[in-house]
């Protein structure tokens, strides 16, 4: 524990010395630094902060240092996260490679694949996107049809992937493809990495109810993919996919994080837009009850995050508890957006133009965007199915 306290002091000192003041302010969507061949920096400070963190390996604190990571253990990484949060330090680099693909390559990839991909992700040289769902394969992901035919020295890929977030900006895509059409659903699937610049790959954005177009559809038309891009064994991609989905769900269950939203939380919004009476109570009793229910739920969820961490650390891990976090995080996240909408009243109903400030417009758009949270990464209904089957052991039909 003393070592960890010492480490905390060192981290705090380093962050204070190295994180520019401008990089300690709340981040907007435009200010996020995403990985990629043509990285854009919103400011010199953002570039400086990114480079310092990259050189320290702290864009990916828990990855091995010989592959460009920080080499920290889980406790140290948590300390770094806490200290960054305490100082308000921005996340220096955003990428699906960091959150999802990297951990899967580290677990399932061979040495050449680790050497090839991990350092590039750590340095932010490549932007990754995900190719899982298809127009005919959503919750029933294993029914996916995109074909990868074995042509001897390469695979020939045909088909399309949907909800490929930011595919129009990505350099590479990690995909689930069918390599054995005759096998049972889950058993004929492989995990393949594809260069978006390869001939035959095209992408079109999809406009959402929030007005954004982060999600895309990506088409593959006779795309040649080298055999070296297969991660894990042939036809064993489903286990890679499941491990990776766990990372996605963990990510989606984490409250707050760096998701750009209004600069106020529900309590602040309530005080500002509803106001209090002479006793300091929110003027609207129904809204006050809605607010306190949400705040109490968030506290319970936050404590459960801590509990799963402590259980892991003390070797009493109940592997079932993390299964609930995607559901509770996204469902309560949606309730928070509904609450903000109710608290702001008319001011959360603007779409564009005058009469609504930036925070108000972000509230409106954030509310609409939040509807995707309980669909992406496994719908809430699928999460409840998983709990019923894996945790409660209820019989399947």
């Amino acid at each position: 524990m003393a070592d960890l306290d010492q480490f905390r002091l060192e981290v705090r000192q380093w962050l204070e010395d190295n994180c520019p003041a401008s990089q300690r302010l709340p981040i907007t969507r435009e200010e996020q630094v995403w990985a990629g061949k043509n990285k854009q920096f919103p400011s010199d400070d953002a570039k400086l902060w990114f480079e310092r963190m990259r050189d320290k390996g702290w864009t990916v604190p828990e990855w091995p240092s010989e592959l460009g990571g920080g080499g920290l253990d889980e406790r140290q990484a948590k300390v770094l996260k806490e200290e960054m949060k305490a100082l308000g330090c921005r996340t220096p680099l955003f990428d699906l490679g960091i959150w999802m693909l990297g951990p899967a390559v580290l677990e399932f990839g061979n040495d050449e694949q680790k050497q090839e991909h991990i350092p590039k992700i750590a340095r932010g040289d490549v932007r990754w996107c995900q190719g899982y769902s298809e127009p005919g394969a959503g919750s029933d992901l294993a029914s996916l049809q995109t074909r990868a035919e074995d042509m001897g020295d390469h695979f020939l890929v045909n088909g399309s992937k949907i909800w490929t977030t930011n595919a129009d900006k990505a350099d590479w895509i990690f995909c689930l493809v069918r390599t054995d059409p005759d096998a049972k659903k889950q058993e004929g699937i492989s995990f393949l990495l594809i260069d978006m610049d390869d001939p035959g790959v095209t992408t079109t954005p999809i406009e959402l109810i929030s007005g954004e177009s982060e999600f895309c559809q990506t088409f593959f038309d006779n795309v040649k993919v080298p055999k070296a891009n297969l991660i894990g064994e042939l036809n064993k991609g489903w286990s890679v996919a499941k491990a990776l989905l766990k990372h996605e769900r963990k990510l989606m269950s984490e409250i707050g994080g760096d998701t750009p939203g209004p600069s106020f939380g529900p309590v602040q919004a309530a005080l500002e837009y509803v106001g209090t009476d002479g006793n300091g109570k929110l003027k609207d009793a129904a809204l006050r009850d809605q607010l306190v229910r949400h705040e109490m739920a968030y506290r319970a969820i936050g404590l459960t995050h801590f509990r799963t961490f402590e259980e892991r650390m003390s070797g009493q891990a109940d592997s079932n508890v993390p299964l609930i976090m995607k559901y509770v995080g996204t469902e309560e996240g949606k309730r928070k957006e509904e609450l903000l909408l109710a608290l702001l009243g008319h001011q959360a109903l603007g779409w564009d133009g005058d009469g609504f400030n930036e925070d108000e417009k972000l509230t409106t758009r954030g509310w609409l965007f939040s509807k995707a949270l309980s669909i992406a990464g496994g719908t809430s209904e699928v999460q409840l199915n998983i709990i019923a089957k894996r945790v409660l052991g209820l019989p399947q039909q």
Partner: protein
């Protein structure tokens, strides 16, 4: 913050589980009910619990306690909730002893607490006067009289109030109902002149009494703490009680839930196990989620007591409000998912349903605690 049990606490929990399932299963509560037991719990079993150290577990060593902390007591109480074990743990060890420990002078502590630890003395907190938990609304009067105090008024819903050796009575020595100033705590003998105690038959078959004070005189040394300044002590006592009661409710809810899931795996209808129906699976999963969140809240609430944290009031309200809601959900679903047999007296699920609603009203319903939490958070 500790959100897991340590080795010693886990051992204690296992011991409690073994003792309770062997000696005080739900069937024991049924027997107490059907035999019209005047006390509402078995005195013999209470002595056994005291021999196991449960009455002394949170008391300091100087008063013959084990100084083991509330996290450990909470583990025991959670297990007692699983079998609906009737005992004066809450009334005596948590509420009564805390009032003396937190508010009393050295003389009161050294004369009374060792007796609590040994099981010689039972206590009850006489607080409520209206239809809902409302400590500030206390109106019962205590007036200076003959060098001591004279108490007049009525108390209701006093847990174990009919059987306790001594009562800790919340009364008003100044101010008006609704005000935190002017509340005082008094120790009153259970057989004091002018005190009438009537046991009320409650739906959960546990003990609760209505008390009537008609010129009950106590001496000056019956006062616990400062005259008119009892509010902070009372709040701390109540918060300990709320957290411990929430732990009992968690145990009851977990037991009820697990029995229901087992039933879903056994019961055949339409040629299949009813647990294979998605309509029931999702409802079961939702209960599991609520229970897991509740466990985390309870752990932190017990840490807040043991670490003397300033945010204990928030955690106590968070824990009590959540367990009120979750126990209601789980008991209602348990009855519904058991179908017809769920509404029979033969099935033990009904005992959990009944205990749930009594425990909800005890020390504050959910609305009370949400209002309190919001106020504590500045809105």
């Amino acid at each position: 913050m500790a959100l897991v049990l340590n080795e010693e606490q886990r051992l204690l929990k296992d011991t409690a589980k073994d003792f309770l399932s062997e000696n005080m299963p739900v069937e024991a509560l049924r027997t107490l009910r059907d035999s019209d037991d005047p006390t509402g719990y078995s005195q013999q079993q209470w002595q056994q619990m005291c021999e196991l150290g449960w009455a002394s577990i949170v008391l300091p060593e100087e008063y013959d306690g084990l100084d083991f902390g509330f996290m450990g007591l909470g583990a025991i109480i959670e297990e007692s909730g699983r079998t609906l074990a009737a005992s004066p743990l809450l009334s005596t060890v948590v509420l009564g002893a805390s009032a003396i420990l937190l508010g009393g002078n050295e003389e009161q502590k050294s004369s009374l607490l060792p007796k609590v630890a040994s099981g010689e003395l039972t206590l009850a907190l006489a607080l409520e006067e209206g239809h809902h938990h409302a400590p500030l609304d206390t109106a019962m009067a205590a007036e200076a009289h003959d060098g001591g105090f004279r108490l007049n008024g009525n108390k209701s819903f006093v847990v174990d109030g009919h059987s306790a050796d001594k009562l800790v009575v919340v009364a008003r020595t100044s101010g008006t109902a609704g005000s935190a100033d002017g509340l005082s705590l008094f120790l009153v003998d259970g057989d004091a002149n002018g005190l009438t105690r009537q046991r009320r038959k409650m739906v959960d078959s546990r003990g609760a009494a209505a008390l009537s004070f008609d010129n009950v005189d106590v001496s000056a040394d019956a006062l616990i703490g400062e005259l008119g300044q009892a509010w902070p002590v009372l709040e701390a006592v109540l918060d300990r009680g709320r957290v411990c009661l929430a732990a009992e409710m968690l145990g009851g809810a977990l037991e009820c839930f697990e029995r229901t899931v087992e039933y879903l795996k056994e019961r055949d209808q339409f040629g299949v196990k009813i647990g294979s129906f998605q309509a029931l699976q999702h409802r079961a999963s939702l209960m599991y989620i609520e229970l897991e969140l509740a466990k985390s809240v309870l752990f932190d609430a017990f840490s807040a007591i043991d670490d003397k944290r300033a945010d204990l009031p928030q955690l106590a309200s968070l824990a009590k409000a959540r367990m009120n809601d979750v126990f209601e959900l789980v008991t209602n679903e348990a009855v519904q998912m058991h179908g017809g047999i769920g509404v029979t007296d033969e099935l033990e699920i009904g005992f959990f349903l009944k205990r749930s609603r009594v425990a909800t009203q005890l020390l504050g319903h959910s609305g009370f605690h949400r209002d309190r939490y919001a106020s504590l958070c500045g809105y």
